[in-house]
């Protein structure tokens, strides 16, 4: 052994040769170490499991349950709209629908093909279904068809064994018994749009079959009507297969909304409009309740609520009578002579006695321009000027007081006003004055403007609804506020005009209908004890000075208007009828007459209507179905033949022609 290397170095274990005994000892120690490691590991894994199973049990139990249980919402039944007498306006009907659960499909193409054939689905639908099937995942159903009748439902049901993944279900869908008649009044319902779901991520919104109000009353009363969804808890496998139903909670239907509408009267008015494009609004002069607000032609809210077809929508959009526009609230027309009683109030307000006469020689000359009257009325006072709709009287007086004195009266009576009503959109219209003209057109008000405005032409625009409010306010002498929800009428102050003034205007309106020489004597109610008072209006579409060249084309024809109330001596009902391009007030007042007649004598009114409807070719539904079929046939023909465009315009022309035959022309 060398000494030197040993200096400064400790003896190392490794330098000593390992003996067998030492190796055995080392083995035992190391084996015990290995065994110890195993034991420690066992304790560790046991501790870990204890932690998961005891400390985190609650968390994992919850997760396990949310795995296992799938919550399906049952869309709540929507609250009804009922009329003032409790009759249904919008209800729910049992609806059969067919869905596909994508996960359970065996042969997608074959199943879709079979359903297409059984339910005669059109190409639009098949495209949509295939697209949705591609995007869907798991067990979220894809709608194949809804609103099926029992026959179709049964047809699918008996074939179910051959159609795995197809699920026919019973649900509820919105039903409007009056169909198109109430389209503009209540609006319609529809599935929630992507934007709406972005705003409110309520899972109910994307539950199949759930619909929300999309327009007007349906939309504005959504919170009341919606109700609370029911729920069904089902146990599902990881692949979405339903194992069993665990429990279910019934839905809470939405609350009904009682409207002031008298649905029978409303339907009558809608039907009575017939082939015309126009609006009828009836109000209660005591309360301001809206009894009727019909706008025709319209769309069938039942079609919209079930998801309207592409071609049906195109048909509505392309129609020149704009069935998608609510003419009662959004149709703006020059009100024409219907504003004369109102102008009379303003004239008396300015201190001109009602007895003062104006000589009418058939027109009025302003500078070198001649403003025509309907006839030569000779010496005429206010009441008779209303009765005979003498323009000369109102030109003269209007120019004398200036339109700035008339405009405030028009506004007080409701023109140019928006009312607090649950409709999605109302148009104010225009009550012009010098200040307005300056602001809007940067021009000074001229006498010619006054002359036009005083007879409801020129810049003046009003909606049928505003005209009805005007009539109701004139008749009642109060500043009635229109109201659509039953029992919510407001107390209103009297109009700021002396009773004598109002009586003169009313007397003029009484004579219009009931005294020989009035402009609407044929509008008398066919009743012994009830007399109607009213005012006709014919408003030009083209400017009055280019009168000489009038086209007979529908869109250039005059609008026919009529405002009225009854009974004349104790006003209860006020109404406005506006017929777009009706040719004159003769198109309007017979409708007002029949609608008011309906209030007092339903049988008599129905007789009139039935006779008319048979000459028009059936009820609203029948005519709409026929028009739609014709539209589709035309479209198909157009697509087939390159020269098919001509037939379409012929079709549209004949429609308007029929309308004019019905008008009882006034002079």
């Amino acid at each position: 052994m060398a000494i030197e290397p040993m200096i400064g170095r400790k003896k190392k274990k490794a330098s000593i040769p390992m003996s067998a005994a030492k190796q055995e000892f080392s083995f035992t120690r190391r084996a015990m170490f290995v065994g110890g490691v195993q034991a420690v590991f066992g304790l560790g894994i046991g501790a870990r499991m204890t932690y998961i199973a005891i400390a985190e049990k609650e968390k994992y139990t919850l997760l396990s349950e949310s795995n296992r249980v799938n919550l399906t919402l049952i869309p709540p039944r929507r609250g009804w709209f009922i009329d003032r007498n409790g009759k249904p306006i919008a209800t729910n009907r049992t609806d059969f629908r067919v869905d596909i659960i994508p996960d359970r499909l065996v042969d997608k193409e074959k199943t879709v093909a079979t359903l297409t054939q059984l339910l005669s689905l059109d190409d639009d639908e098949v495209t949509r279904i295939n697209k949705e099937l591609e995007q869907s995942s798991g067990f979220q159903p894809v709608q194949i068809a809804s609103g099926l009748d029992y026959e179709d439902f049964a047809l699918i049901s008996v074939r179910l064994p051959d159609l795995p993944g197809v699920s026919p279900r019973q649900g509820f869908s919105r039903f409007y018994p009056s169909g198109a008649a109430v389209g503009h009044l209540v609006g319609y319902v529809g599935p929630v749009s992507a934007e709406e779901y972005q705003k409110n991520r309520d899972p109910l919104l994307i539950t199949p079959g759930f619909k929300i109000g999309k327009d007007n009353l349906e939309r504005k009363f959504e919170n009341v009507l919606q109700g609370k969804p029911g729920a069904k808890r089902v146990e599902v496998t990881a692949r979405g297969k339903i194992v069993r139903e665990l429990e279910s909670r019934e839905d809470t239907p939405g609350k009904p909304v009682k409207l002031t509408i008298d649905i029978d009267l409303h339907n009558y008015a809608a039907r009575r409009l017939g082939l015309q494009s126009g609006s009828v609004v009836v109000m209660d002069c005591l309360t301001g309740d809206i009894l009727t607000m019909a706008s025709m032609p319209s769309f069938d809210p039942n079609s919209f609520s079930q998801g309207i077809g592409v071609s049906e929508y195109a048909w509505l959009r392309e129609d020149r009578t704009v069935p998608l526009l609510n003419k009662s609230l959004q149709g703006l027309y020059p009100p024409g002579s219907t504003l004369k009683p109102l102008a009379g109030l303003a004239i008396m307000e300015q201190g001109i006695p009602a007895e003062e006469t104006v000589f009418c020689n058939g027109g009025y000359t302003l500078g070198n321009r001649r403003f025509n009257c309907l006839g030569r009325h000779g010496n005429i006072n206010l009441a008779d000027a209303i009765k005979r709709s003498c323009n000369t009287y109102f030109y003269t007086m209007g120019r004398r007081i200036g339109y700035d004195k008339i405009a405030p009266v028009a506004r007080t009576l409701g023109l140019g006003q928006e009312f607090d009503l649950p409709f999605t959109s109302q148009y104010y219209g225009t009550v012009p004055d010098s200040e307005w003209l300056k602001r809007k057109h940067n021009r000074e008000w001229s006498s010619a403007d006054s002359l036009n405005a005083v007879i409801g032409q020129g810049y003046v625009l009003a909606s049928p609804f505003q005209l009805a409010v005007m009539a109701a306010r004139l008749a009642s002498g109060r500043q009635l506020l229109p109201n659509i929800v039953a029992g919510k009428s407001k107390k209103t102050p009297d109009l700021p005009y002396p009773k004598e003034f109002l009586d003169v205007a009313r007397e003029g309106m009484f004579r219009v209908v009931n005294v020989g020489g009035g402009t609407a004597t044929r509008g008398q109610l066919p009743l012994d004890d009830v007399k109607m008072a009213g005012k006709t209006g014919t408003s030009q579409v083209t400017a009055i000075r280019r009168d000489g060249r009038r086209s007979s084309e529908w869109k250039y024809r005059d609008h026919g208007l009529f405002v009225c109330y009854a009974p004349h001596d104790n006003p209860r009902y006020a109404a406005a009828v506006v017929i777009q391009h009706g040719g004159g007030s003769g198109a309007a007042y017979p409708i007002a007459r029949d609608v008011l007649t309906f209030i007092y004598d339903k049988e008599k009114a129905m007789e009139t209507l039935n006779a008319l409807e048979s000459s028009w070719g059936g009820t609203i539904e029948q005519r709409m179905a026929r028009d739609l079929a014709r539209y589709r046939a035309n479209k198909a023909a157009e697509e087939n033949a390159a020269n098919g465009a001509a037939s379409d315009s012929d079709e549209a022309g004949s429609n308007g022609e029929t309308g004019s035959n019905e008008a009882e022309n006034e002079t």
Binding site: K22, E24, R48, K57, V236
Partner: protein, 373 residues
């Protein structure tokens, strides 16, 4: 253990009944879980599981009747044969145009990588049995075993089968550790492995294996993808609570939320229905099994027997440890089944071969208990 004791023949009465009962208990519990996993049916898992177990138990008992010297003599033929089969798998795989783990012998399919686990332990133990104690610590004590381990490990890694590779290496390293190699080597190589893990992660692992690792580190990030297994397993165990949801009442397994509920995640299936009690009982059963194996090792008179018993015991331990850690979210999902509970033939064959050889070592007549105090 006397052959004159009663009517039971000595060949029967001398069997290690306590360990056999333990195995039967574990396998029967496994069959019970598989019965539930199949929604209360013996098929397709529980009945084959039991049949396979009984056949392999018989095989293990037969193996235990061979003297230890036989196994010693057979070590290299066995090791060499399995190594050839691994090479064969590679060749067949590359000829067939795809990786595979099976070798189809016509009448049965063999997974050589499974057989390599005990074979590698035998070979390395054989080497250290021959190595003179004085040479322990030299390079000669390290290089041949390292080679014996590296060859099969590389072949299995090529398949690729990371789990089995690690199992083979684990068994071999444990034998090397017990053989008395300097501790420093283990600490140093341990540090080296730790340093190499990130490198291996980026260069050696397949993308799906990488994903398993990242998922292991944060399973909640990917609840529907790769983290799904681990999350659903934890949900099954956690929702089982203390006493479980009851036999046949597990929802995670029966509604198919728990993937691989009859193979790798059978412990979660069990824990959901039997709760913490069932889990601790299972762990206790494994504890008894491993304690038996380690005792056999320490009580064996021969160095070969000691090393083999401990090595095989640790191979079994590796299965149990990795599987339970995986199931409880403590290890990445590597696809290692749980002995006696998971459905599957190859792993059970490996385990029963290990147990058969350990039983053979236990049967060694030369007891040298007195030598170790």
């Amino acid at each position: 253990m006397s052959s004159y004791n009663g009517i039971v023949p000595s060949q029967i009465s001398s069997l290690p009944w306590r360990i056999i009962f333990l195995l039967i208990a574990l396998a029967s519990f496994g069959a019970t879980i598989l019965y539930s996993a199949a929604d209360g049916n013996m098929m397709p898992w529980a009945a084959p599981h039991l049949v396979r177990f009984l056949i392999m138990l018989a095989a293990a008992i037969v193996m235990s009747r061979f003297p230890l010297d036989f196994w010693k003599a057979m070590t290299f033929p066995i090791y060499g044969g399995v190594l050839l089969m691994l090479i064969g798998v590679e060749i067949v795989g590359s000829l067939g145009g795809g990786s595979q783990r099976w070798l189809d012998l016509g009448f049965m399919r063999i997974q050589p990588s499974e057989l390599m686990k005990p074979a590698a332990v035998l070979a390395i133990a054989w080497f250290y049995d021959r190595l003179p104690p004085s040479r322990s610590g030299d390079l000669i004590s390290l290089l041949p075993p390292a080679l014996l381990l590296a060859m099969p490990a590389a072949l299995v890694l090529l398949q690729p089968d990371l789990g089995t590779t690690l199992a083979i290496i684990f068994g071999g390293v444990v034998v090397m550790f017990l053989a008395g190699l300097p501790l420093k080597w283990f600490t140093l190589s341990g540090a080296a492995v730790a340093a190499l893990i990130p490198v291996a992660y980026f260069f050696a692992l397949e993308p799906y294996q990488q994903r398993r690792v990242t998922t292991f580190l944060s399973p909640e990030d990917d609840p529907l993808g790769a983290g799904y297994h681990v999350n659903q397993s934890a949900i099954a165990i956690g929702s089982g609570g203390f006493s479980g949801k009851g036999f046949l009442n597990g929802t995670q397994s029966h509604l198919d939320y728990l993937p691989e509920g009859h193979t790798d995640f059978v412990f979660a299936t069990m824990a959901e229905e039997w709760g913490l009690i069932g889990g601790l009982a299972t762990i206790f059963g494994f504890y008894l099994l491993l304690r038996w194996g380690m005792r056999v090792s320490m009580n064996s008179a021969s160095r070969y027997g000691k090393l083999v018993a401990a090595g095989l015991c640790c191979t079994i331990f590796f299965y149990i440890a990795i599987n339970l850690m995986m199931v409880m979210g403590l290890a990445p999902v590597v696809g290692i089944p749980l002995p006696f509970l998971s459905h599957g033939g190859s792993s059970m064959m490996t385990i029963m071969i290990c147990i058969g050889i350990i039983m053979a070592i236990e049967r060694q007549p030369k007891s040298s208990r007195g030598k170790f105090a």
